[in-house]
Amino acid sequence: MSVEVPRQEAEEPTGDGAQPLVEIEHLKVFFPIKEGVFIDREVARVHAVNDVTLSVAEGETVGLVGESGCGKTTMSRTIMRLIDSTEGTIQFRGEDITTAGRRELAPLRRQMQMVFQDPFASLNPRKRVVQIIGQPLRLHGTPRDEVEDRVRDLLRLVGLHPEHLNRFPHEFSGGQRQRIGVARALALEPRLIVLDEPVSALDVSVQAQIINLLDDLQDEFRLTYLFVAHDLSVVRHVSDRIAVMYLGKLMEVSPAEELYTKPIHPYTSALLAAIPIPDPERNRRRERIVVSGEPPNPINPPSGCVFHPRCPRATEVCREVEPPLVRYPNGHLAACHHPLNVSTEEIGAATRDETSPLSCGDEMPSAA
């Protein structure tokens, strides 16, 4: 995406006018399904990421939200070049890395790191903390005698005792392990950290600690985050912008707070309505819209708008024409023929965004 998205809130001055750090254009990731005994014949494809255009500015936090199977994890790993893309381009600081080889990627690995969901599976149980966090340092040429000091600093930074560097992962709780994962990601002073559900395996009270830690680290090191999550409540506390994905496509991209006060896509609205509110009184008064059904199979995505089989507002046009991403005030994008929470004037003034998938139609949304 080449157009700078204006941010609604002024509280995060870091993002304004900043260069895009990561830009992906019309990214597609398809996984072939093969059959056959001697010759592998491709019989179908899983459309994991299906024409997504998105950019993340330096210092910004973009939340990437969707249900399981929507392609959010595939997309984040493709950006990290852990999965090869089928079509489209990925740029990191203006450099095209879509097909970069191992050798070309090596210096870039310093700048992009990842924190994984499961703090139990993502740390080698046979290695001590000093080895786990020190490994990236050694690989990238930190002298052996400096590694230990650096690990101590990193442990202190993420709120662990520096003297614990000789312990094994099993001696730590889930939250502490996630801190180790964060320390490992920080070791090489990256610019971008992809956080794949970093708190969903943790207890509530510990979740808040990790989110606050990530917040502090971002301020201190001017980090850029791509925060992948399955629900909208956690990303709200970290994101500047939020992208909602469904079945491999972007449904809505919005300034963070606006997504909660003014969701435009019916899918976003359904996701919000499904989150239980920890307030009994409000729950009793709340009108409950439960979306029926489950996400369809990404091998054969539905025609037109991919959400139409579950959408309460779907009409004929939704079944036939894929809606373009439409730009509303504040740089709020939504791909829907029947948008919510926008006035007739806003619909009239809306424009087709250039980040729209190539396969979508030209129909602009109509006022309801």
């Binding site: 249900e67 399981s68 709780s173 889930g174 939250g175 502490q176 207890d203 509530v204 009270s205 510990v206 979740q207 808040a208 600690q209 989110i211 606050n212 917040d215 399955h230 629900d231 909208l232 409540s233 956690v234 709200r236 506390h237 707070e257 909660y260 359904a270 996701l271 919000l272 309505a273 499904a274 989150i275 239980p276 509110i277 920890p278 307030d279 009994p280 009184e281 409000r282 729950n283 009793r284 709340r286 409950r288 439960v290 979306v291 029926s292 489950e294």
Partner: protein, 363 residues
């Protein structure tokens, strides 16, 4: 949405109509690192048709409590104290034979992970029919009809065809529905649901919760919901027991816990939830520190080392008792006076949480 009257704050009448009454339950496991007291004196009652939520973090003893009622924690290294009376049967001391009659038919359980709790090599129908016939001598054809009825009831489309599917052909949400159908197959009077929606997506979670609510209304079964998610609790529970480090630290009706919480741990839990219905705070209020190791717990109040309001008295174990005069059913384990609590729990006007900057208070 229909709200059961109990949720509106009226305490259920006490008396002999308790379906289940657990008294001073203690469960300990001998491990290499010493004795782990997983459950440390838990008492509660459950009335028919009531949804009791047991809330706590990992290691709080909530799942062990639930599993002990079903006799699922019995092992050579486990020791039990206390009683759990269900309709004249004492579950803790009961023989395996007695338990087998209770399990499934009287008390049924839904587990967290629908991926691993079904047998992957048996068809769904076979698994449900087997359970029905275990407790009731029904001919195959009738048991099959009953199974279809059950799948239909939990919202599985084309139930007749799906009977011949294997678990791997179902999505996570559908498998959890099958688990609920299995649990309901013998019309139990208590349904224990251990984190039933944790592994599911939010839209599917909403569907499952609605289904549990409807089934409770239809069948009148009592539900013990074990969860860490206060949002889910607010959606479905009548009463709540908050557990911390093996003990119930606070117990009361849904509204009492949410609008007049007495224990600092409850404040922390309520305060640290990420919410979508309120303006986003600058920083999330977090409970400092970590839950204690079960093998090495602090003396006195277990929450003491993490509590910003700790004072001298906290070295003694506070009993679980009613400290708010007006309501006898609202119990907590905290030495602070109700007045102090009311003052201390307000982080910002109208907001409940733990202020990490607040110092220790004295009486």
């Amino acid at each position: 949405m229909s709200v059961p009257e109990a949720a509106t704050g009226a305490p259920r009448p006490a008396g002999d109509e308790h379906l289940l009454s657990v008294h001073d339950l203690r469960v300990a496991f001998a491990t290499e690192e010493g004795v782990v007291q997983a459950v440390d004196g838990v008492s509660f009652e459950l009335a028919a048709g009531e949804v009791l939520a047991v809330v706590g973090e990992s290691g709080s003893g909530k799942s062990v409590t639930a599993m002990t009622l079903m006799g699922l924690t019995r092992s050579p290294n486990a020791s039990f104290e206390g009683t759990a009376h269900y309709k004249g049967t004492e579950l803790i001391e009961a023989s395996e034979d007695q338990l087998r009659r209770v399990r499934g038919a009287e008390i049924a359980m839904i587990f967290q992970d629908p991926m691993t709790s079904l047998n992957p090599v048996l068809k769904i129908g076979r698994q449900i029919i087997e359970q029905i016939q275990e407790h009731e001598a029904l001919p195959d054809r009738q048991a099959r009809e009953r199974a279809i009825e059950l799948l239909d009831k939990v919202g599985i489309p084309r139930a007749r065809d799906r009977l011949d599917s294997y678990p791997h052909e179902f999505s996570g949400g559908m498998r959890q529905r099958v688990m609920i159908a299995l649990a309901l197959s013998c019309d139990p009077s208590i349904l224990i649901a251990d984190e039933p929606t944790t592994a599911l997506d939010v839209t599917i979670q909403a569907q499952i919760l609605q289904r549990i609510r409807e089934l409770r209304d239809e069948t009148g079964a009592a539900v013990i919901l074990v969860t860490h998610d206060l949002g889910v609790v607010a959606d479905i529970a009548d009463r709540i027991a908050v557990m911390y480090s093996g003990r119930i630290v606070e117990q009361g009706t849904l509204d009492e816990i949410f609008y007049d919480p007495q224990h600092p741990y409850t404040w922390g839990l309520l305060g640290s939830i990420t919410r979508v219905d309120q303006p986003r705070p600058e920083r999330l209020p977090a409970i400092a520190g970590l839950p204690p190791s079960l093998a090495d717990r602090p003396e006195g109040c277990h929450f003491r080392p993490r509590c910003p309001h700790e004072f001298a008295k906290c070295i003694e174990v506070p009993p679980l008792e009613g400290r708010v005069d007006s309501r006898r059913g609202h119990l907590d384990r905290c030495w602070l006076s109700p007045e102090q609590k009311r003052e201390l729990r307000e982080v910002r006007p109208g907001e409940i949480g733990l202020d990490p900057k607040a110092g220790a208070t004295s009486r």
